[in-house]
């Protein structure tokens, strides 16, 4: 292991940001450490310093304010999964966090961590992108908010500057009558990361035509994939099998799928087609909130 590795344990966001500003890319932020420990121990990263933010107060809140579900960066996956506030406002968020890995990882891994890691095969990002969530970050120049769809830039790369940390995620609570689902399709063991994960959000008018349709595909490409032009085509039309197939085909055509041990690019494209269809079908059938 590289030496020396310095450890910082700031007790405020400002203090953490100051360390990052001083050390630049040589410092890595760590919270639950499930991802960082793996990357570090497999020597995929070699930071000179760790900034452990677990003791910073005020980042563990779960609340609904002004029509938004607000999750603090240090809230664990397990806390999201079990939270009555989350289940009562946007149940699909609890559902998606509950599908991550196993109970041990969910006890440690945090909301801020899964965002900042930007692993293409994590479950929550696709759900946040589909729900138009916003990521709140803080750096030397103060706070700013980044739409989730712009936050994930590339493979393990985010819109964060080196001196910025994620402080929370805000998710607009969808209007009543909206169905939202997350389908995690795994090709190996039950607790594995997905081959393809699809978040679907659907709201229908009383006459069965589409009022709102949002689809984000995770784990199939470097970042969660959402195609607003395709979504827009469905608005105002009756949600029938033809329309759903059109959207699913359009997603299969547009997602530039990747190859890994969970599936080839060709296979992923076909699974995108299948799971986008199923996500729209089940979101439309999901009980209205």
């Amino acid at each position: 292991m590289p030496e020396p590795l310095r450890l910082f344990q700031p007790t405020s966001i400002e203090e953490a940001v100051a360390v990052l500003a001083e050390l630049g890319d040589d410092a890595k932020v760590v919270a639950g450490a499930t991802a960082l420990t793996l990357l570090y121990r497999q020597r995929l990263i070699a930071p000179g310093a760790l900034v452990s933010i677990g003791r910073i107060p005020g980042l563990k809140t779960i609340e609904v304010v002004d029509g938004e579900l607000r999750l603090g960066a240090l809230v664990s996956h397990r806390e999201v999964e079990l939270s009555p506030v989350v289940r009562g406002s946007i149940p699909v968020v609890a559902d998606a966090f509950g599908k991550v890995a196993n109970v041990r990882v969910r006890n440690a891994a945090t909301v801020g961590g899964v965002m900042a890691e930007s692993d293409y095969a994590s479950d929550p990002p696709a759900v946040f992108v589909a729900l138009d969530a916003v990521v709140d970050v803080q750096g030397s120049n103060g706070k700013r908010s980044i739409p989730a769809s712009e936050f994930f830039v590339a493979f393990y790369e985010t819109a964060l500057e080196h001196d910025e940390i994620v402080i929370g995620v805000r998710v607009p609570v969808p209007p009543a009558g909206t169905g939202a689902v997350y389908h995690k399709f795994v090709t190996r063991s039950s607790e594995d990361r997905p081959c393809v994960g699809v978040a679907g959000v659907v709201r229908l008018h009383a006459d069965g035509t589409v009022a709102d349709l949002r689809v984000a595909v995770g784990a199939a490409a470097e970042t969660p994939q959402r195609f607003r032009d395709t979504e827009a085509l469905a608005i105002g039309k009756p949600l029938d099998a033809d329309l759903i197939a059109q959207v699913a085909d359009a997603y299969a055509d547009q997602v530039d799928t990747l190859d890994d041990m969970r599936g080839s690019a060709w296979y992923r494209t076909e699974m995108v087609r299948v799971w986008v269809r199923r996500a729209i079908e089940s979101a439309a059938a999901a009980p209205a909130r």
């Binding site: 292991m1 590795l5 344990q9 570090y40 121990r41 760790l50 677990g54 890995a101 990882v105 607790e191």
Partner: protein, 177 residues
Amino acid sequence: MTDRRAQGEVTATEDGRLAIPAMLNGRQTTLVARPWHTLLETLRDQEGLYGVREGCGVGMCGACTVMLDGEPVSSCLVLAPQVAGREIRTVEGLAAPDGTLSDLQQAFIDHTAFQCSYCTSGFLITAERLAEEHPDASREEIRHYLAGNLCRCGSYVKILDAVADLLERRRAGRTAD
């Protein structure tokens, strides 16, 4: 120094390692580790707690499961300094001080819920928390909760039997009270 330790702060030792105060199986202790050491390595190499086992090393198998502040975690994915001021419980902390096995441990023996036993300590820690959190768990719920603990011998059916039986025994105990 003493005050900072009492507050659960990490301090440096004379040889440049970290002194990490923590509660370990009910007693206050100071773990000594480098910043990059995992909790798994520290518990085995420094504390001699060999019930904590390395399997996959990537958080998938559950052999290294310990409780951190009452919740099961993979100790291979916890960096030692992260446990400062926190409470750790390993399989060594399940039995009574006089060596009497816990009812959970006894249930595993009664059902022969292991073959090679490498995974057993991890299963015991996860199952202990399951029993606290979901005392009325169905067999299906037990299966879901334990899904992240792997047994390469394939003793799953016996393990499910043992945990289901434990929950039943505890329920019977509660009713008797």
